[in-house]
């Protein structure tokens, strides 16, 4: 493919569902939107290591410990590919890290919820990774090549994580009454925040139309949310848990489930930094970054001598 050098070729490429590559001409807004979206995704992977990572030390069997450690390690790997994809747009990982730590860029609000129970490890795999997959599978076809290719690899691993999470919950449901109660309690806490992962309703999502026209986004928030609910309800039935929504019922006319709306004011509060764990997540990341500064400086100094 020859390098794209002008706006008309860019528009035609996007309209034809072909990929834009790093050396191609692109509108500044397209670049900015991608940096924001990919960085937010990368930051989410990195912050997302914490809620489950907190359980690595306490995983209740050695097999579960291995699964969890490998999963959290995969999240670090996802962060790495996504930062690399973002770097092809002319920003450095150090700049992106600074923007995360200074609060200039966001991460998924789901990681600002606490994980007080081991069942949360399973619920995050099942619901949170499940919602992430619904969001991310269409991104494998996103117009920006490095992002789309990173997403293909990430989606494969995420779907594996979802299965592992579901399998943990299924195993716990076969265990003691106490374990079954743990699973239900965890699902009750994570259901609504999982629905919020798709973002605000379409009528309140100002960037969606532009992102869809550029082929960065492929489906609206509400479409993806519906897909997630339709996929999850039968899984919940197979698992033997209830979902905490009195309005949830099959609608034969639509061929889809009707469901209630999350408390959108809660999403606004969590996004604006007032969620239950925002401060804790940022403090953990900041501390790790600061504690590691002398090591990174040493590595840079040593590399400079060689």
């Amino acid at each position: 493919m020859p390098v794209i050098e002008d706006e008309a070729t860019f528009e035609a490429t996007v309209a034809g569902n072909d990929r834009i590559e790093p050396r191609d001409w692109m509108p500044e807004g397209y670049r900015r939107t991608l940096v924001r979206q990919i960085a937010q995704h990368a930051h989410s992977e990195i912050i997302g290591m914490q809620p489950e990572g907190a359980w690595i030390g306490r995983a209740p069997s050695l097999r579960r410990k291995a699964i969890l450690l490998a999963k959290v390690q995969d999240e670090a790997g996802h962060g790495l590919y996504l930062y690399s994809a973002c770097e092809t747009l002319g920003v450095t990982r150090a700049e992106l890290t600074d923007m995360l730590l200074s609060g200039k860029q966001k991460y998924s609000s789901i990681f600002n919820y606490p994980t007080p129970s081991y069942a949360d490890v399973g619920t995050i795999g099942w619901l949170v990774d499940g919602a992430a997959i619904c969001n991310q599978v269409p991104l494998c076809r996103t117009s920006y090549g490095p992002y789309g290719r990173a997403m293909i690899r990430i989606c494969k691993e995420e779907s594996f994580h979802q299965r592992q999470g579901y399998e943990l919950l299924m195993t716990m449901m076969r265990g003691t009454d106490e374990q079954r109660a743990m699973v239900q309690e965890s699902v009750d806490r994570f259901w609504w925040p999982s629905l919020m992962m798709f973002g605000p309703p379409d009528v309140e999502s100002p960037n969606t139309a532009r992102s869809m026209a550029w082929g960065i986004k492929r489906n609206t928030n509400d479409e993806l949310r519906q897909r997630f609910v339709d996929m999850t309800v039968p899984q919940a039935e197979a698992l033997g848990v209830t979902l905490p929504d009195p309005d949830l019922r099959w609608n034969p006319d639509r061929g889809a489930y009707d469901f209630g709306q999350p408390d959108w004011s809660e999403l606004k509060r969590v996004v604006s930094g007032e969620g239950p764990c925002n401060a804790e997540r940022m403090a953990h990341r900041t501390r790790a970054h600061e504690d590691g500064a002398w090591v990174r400086e040493a590595a840079a100094a040593y590399a400079g001598q060689r």
């Binding site: 209740p60 050695l62 579960r64 291995a66 450690l69 670090a76 899984q235 590691g292 001598q305």
Partner: protein, 294 residues
């Protein structure tokens, strides 16, 4: 209902899982019989020593997940922790398999009964692996001292008369080679990086060097297992361990620490308070649900 759609969620067939959460496989086809003339209780205790070393250091290293100096190192330390955890699972299972009397009577797999339902005094790891890392220099020095020794041991153990130990060791040699090289590179990098990194590296060496002595003093179980052609006498690897450490220290431009050896006792269950603290965390959920299914 939904069997057709979701039954696949529970399948174990997916080959993607990079580090193998399946367990039977690594030892498929290995002869698990206890070799003639070997006391199974001794073999079990020997497996516990090697298994507990791996389990305890794995637990320490996994603490670094989400706390490492950069993403690459986060991934690398998790790799090392996963390798050691895999070794621990095989070794604890072997211990429980040949010496059921060592396994606490709980309704869990032997590896989990041993990991989660023994107290600190029943753990047989050396003290080197149980200490908390003061900083990243501590983590890499601890890993270097441990992995240089363990690689030398596993290298010989690959020729053990015990089929299971030989198989575990053969797999472990590749893993430990990476662990040792990774730790060695960091020791050199920190020693030659900045004044601050050198100061921290030397401090970590001074703190941890005394603990390496315990690895090299033969325990009676190790001596008996070595005599039976099953285990490795640590005294037999002392020269090799010294030579490798000297090589790393020379590359780092750091003197061998001039510090006295620390007391051992870990192999007999005499531990520092750090182990009890670690086990309280490791065992918290499992002990809260002794009848639980995970």
């Amino acid at each position: 209902m939904s069997d057709s759609v979701y039954s696949g969620l529970l399948g174990e067939s997916d080959p993607h899982w990079a580090f193998g959460t399946g367990f039977a496989e690594p030892l498929a086809g290995v002869d698990a019989a206890v070799p003639a003339g070997v006391d199974p209780a001794d073999l079990g205790r020997y497996c516990l020593m090697l298994g507990d070393d791996a389990l305890v250091l794995s637990q320490r290293l996994s603490w670094w997940t989400s706390r490492a100096p950069d993403l690459e190192e986060d991934i690398a330390l998790a790799n090392v922790a996963l390798d050691l955890l895999g070794q621990a699972r095989l070794l604890l299972s072997r211990a429980g398999g040949v010496a059921p009397d060592l396994v606490p009577a709980v309704a869990q797999q032997p590896e989990d009964a041993l990991a989660y339902f023994r107290g600190p005094a029943e753990f047989r790891n050396v003290r080197l692996v149980e200490g908390e890392d003061v900083d990243f220099a501590d983590a890499v020095v601890r890993l270097l001292l441990f992995s240089v020794w363990r690689l030398a041991v596993l290298d010989r153990l690959a020729g053990s008369r015990d089929g299971v130990l030989a198989a575990v060791a053969a797999k472990g040699v590749k893993e430990l080679t990476y662990h040792r090289d990774h730790a060695g590179r960091w020791v050199v990098t920190l020693a030659r990086g900045t004044a601050e990194s050198r100061r921290r590296l030397v401090a970590a060496l001074d703190r941890l060097w005394p603990l390496r002595a315990e690895l090299l003093v033969p325990h009676p179980v190790e001596a008996r297992m070595a005599a039976a052609g099953i285990g490795v006498d640590p005294a037999a690897v002392a020269a090799e361990v010294d030579a490798v450490l000297d090589q790393v220290l020379t590359a780092a431009g750091v003197d061998r620490p001039d510090v006295a050896d620390a007391p051992g006792g870990g192999r007999d269950g005499s531990h520092t308070p750090a182990l009890a603290t670690m086990l309280a965390e490791l065992q918290e959920v499992a002990r809260a649900h002794p009848e639980g299914t995970w």
